[in-house]
């Protein structure tokens, strides 16, 4: 009973602490029409210190969403366009020689920001991708002999185009695994498209975005998310979903066995739990339900499950596999 009261109190605190999300959403909605799910996922990643890989065709306002998000949350934003001739130093920085005092000084690269938009990350070779992914993992950068910690919050939103693969360097599975979520940015609905057209087809300057969130608020939210209750049943449900992606036959999905080349890694369980916690926070709840897990399962698992040859031949995508897993694994 004591625990239930504590959770109730925590719920009240969460409702109070999550108000900044509403304020930020309001600012975003002034410039972004639709794409509510993508915005929701960016908030989730920001709340639990994760990174996102955005996949969508050009012109779906990916850059605008991230830029507006950073502005509304009063965070330093940097856009890095990845190109084939890029070098790691262009990203992390380099040592510059000063002839006046005959010494080398570090010049920090664009990675020193709060929100990084790594645009078309697959256009650069592996060494540049690795430099960024190392910064994502370690949250620090070494230039010359000096190591510099990256500012908090540090969030990378990388984009890649799903239709053009010529002259690209596909991200290796080990690196893709470091992204908490892979979010598919889809076309807007008919009504949304109409609104976008009317709002954007103007020569007037864009509406300014007001910074409405302070770092303290994000920090407080992160501390509350840590306290969100996860029942052992839900913990087991998360592990069941991840294990089912590796051994589907164990969960009565024999037909999926040949469809999966390899399943989700243990990082998937960790990120599923974290993302579910953040999802519960956005729902003003002090506990996780299987609904939270199901809600973020597609985005957290789709880049961690590799379909086999048979699945590719039958045009079965990772989302189809995840759907089957969610339909077969019993909810607690």
């Amino acid at each position: 009973m004591q625990h239930a009261v504590e959770l109730e109190e925590l719920g009240v605190q969460i409702t109070e602490a999550s108000r900044f999300i509403e304020k930020a959403r309001e600012q975003l909605s002034q410039r972004i029409i639709g794409q509510h799910e993508v915005i929701g996922r960016i908030f989730i990643a920001m709340l639990v210190n994760g990174h996102i890989l955005l996949e969508g065709v050009p012109g779906l306002a990916k850059t605008l969403i991230i830029k507006t998000f950073a502005a509304a949350l009063n965070l330093k934003f940097q856009r890095i366009q990845f190109t084939p001739d890029m070098l790691p130093a262009d990203l992390v920085g380099t040592m510059i020689y000063n002839p006046k005092d005959m010494e080398f000084y570090p010049r920090k690269g664009p990675v020193f920001a709060n929100v990084i938009l790594a645009d078309e990350i697959n256009r650069s070779p592996a060494k540049v991708q690795s430099a960024l992914l190392e910064a994502m993992q370690e949250r620090q950068v070494t230039i010359g002999s000096q190591t510099f910690p990256l500012q908090e919050p540090f969030m990378v939103l990388a984009t890649q185009n799903p239709i053009e693969h010529e002259g690209t360097y596909i991200l290796p599975e080990a690196q893709v695994d470091r992204f908490m979520m892979k979010v598919i940015v889809d076309y807007p609905s008919y009504e949304e498209e109409l609104d976008i057209m009317l709002q954007s087809a103007t020569t007037c300057s864009e509406l300014p975005v007001m910074p409405v969130v302070e770092w303290d608020e994000i920090s407080k939210a992160r501390a509350l998310i840590e306290r969100i209750y996860v029942d052992p049943r839900v913990q087991r449900y998360i592990v069941d979903l991840v294990v089912a992606s590796r051994n589907p036959a164990q969960y009565g999905m024999v037909e999926l066995e040949a469809m999966i080349e390899y399943g989700a890694s243990p990082r998937a369980s960790i990120f599923l739990l974290l993302a579910a916690k953040a999802h519960a926070f956005l729902q003003h709840r002090a506990y996780i339900t299987p609904e939270d897990v199901k809600a973020i399962a597609y985005d957290t698992l789709r880049h961690r499950i590799r379909p086999g040859y048979e699945a590719e031949a039958d045009n079965i995508k990772p989302d189809d596999i995840i759907r089957q897993i969610l339909q077969h694994v019993q909810v607690p």
Partner: protein, 322 residues
């Protein structure tokens, strides 16, 4: 010197040496010579049939009578150094032995030969070897059977017509019988499968006939009894959630067991289910107990059970009315 030369020339020495060479093996090893009838070992050879076509097989029975505590063996059957042996190809051999009541032993060697050649053919010679109990050779007898076989060639100059070709051997199980057995087994298997199919359909139909609401009510009554017997209320809610989900799955054909409460809510809303609010309240209450560590008391649990029972009764009644 001259006398000695004369002696040589007369050929006497040559004759003497030849006689010595002839007699010596008989003295040194009497067992190497053929034994006369009535002496041990006594050998008899029978052949059947005595007239065959070329390539046919004959059965040759060699019976050896010898002294007690001796073992006989036939050797030299596989040699092909004589012309006659080319006409006989050993196919198989069997050996049996018995002790006669009078004392000496009796051993039978059954030899099967394939016969070739043309005209009368003498059986091939063999070597009979007798050993004592310690395996030492006590006697060796080279034996040439007097029995013979007449071999008829498939074609010869005296032929006027082709000899009839032998009919193929008949199968031990007649073809018709085999056919009957195959059809019988297939028919029986088909009948069993048909029976299984009918049984499965009957079972399924009877399962469909079972009223899911009735089952749920019975489970709720049982749960109420368990609660009275001291079952913790939070466990009662977990079971209550399962009962409700199973009932909804069977009653409305929705996958409630693999769905979260939100998904069930969406499905029931689509179906326009009677008592929707009450069902959702119960499920959400159970979710609070399951996932938010809420600890209701016994009285609250009992009220929830009664409410669930009422909802199920109401839902069933509304479906019957429709």
């Amino acid at each position: 010197m001259n006398a000695r030369s004369e002696w040589y020339r007369s050929g006497f020495l040559k004759q003497f040496l030849a006689l010595l060479l002839l007699v010596f093996p008989m003295v040194a090893s009497p067992s190497l010579s053929a034994k006369e009838e009535g002496e041990h070992p006594e050998i008899t050879v029978n052949v059947q049939p005595d007239s065959v076509l070329v390539g046919d097989r004959i059965r040759c029975m060699v019976t050896v009578y010898h002294l007690e505590r001796e073992v006989a063996a036939i050797e030299g059957l596989n040699r092909s150094d004589t012309l006659s042996e080319h006409s006989f190809e050993l196919i198989s051999r069997k050996h049996s032995s018995s002790l006669l009541p009078s004392g000496p032993g009796n051993e039978v060697f059954e030899l099967e030969y394939a016969v070739f050649g043309n005209g009368r053919q003498l059986l091939p010679p063999f070597m009979l070897v007798l050993r004592d109990v310690e395996g030492r050779i006590t006697k060796k007898v080279a034996y040439t059977p007097s029995a013979s076989v007449f071999v008829q060639a498939l074609t010869d100059s005296s032929m006027r017509d082709l000899r009839p070709i032998k009919p193929p051997l008949k199968a031990s199980i007649p073809f018709l019988l085999m056919l009957i057995v195959i059809f019988g087994v297939s028919g029986a298997a088909g009948l069993v499968l048909l029976l299984l199919f009918l049984l499965k359909r009957t079972v399924r139909n009877s399962a469909e006939d079972v009223d899911s609401g009735h089952v749920a009510q019975r489970k709720l009554r049982k749960l109420g009894s368990s609660l009275s017997a001291g079952m913790p209320p939070h466990e009662c809610y977990e079971e209550l959630s399962n009962i409700m989900r199973t009932f909804l799955e069977n009653h409305y054909r929705i996958s409630a067991l693999e769905a979260v409460t939100q998904e069930i809510e969406r499905d029931l809303k689509k179906l326009g289910v009677a008592g929707f609010e009450s069902i959702m309240n119960l499920l959400k209450q159970a979710d609070l107990v399951k996932f938010a560590d809420s600890r209701p008391d016994v009285e609250e649990s009992r009220q929830s059970l009664n409410k669930a029972s009422e909802v199920i009764r109401f839902t069933r009644a509304s479906k019957v009315e429709r």
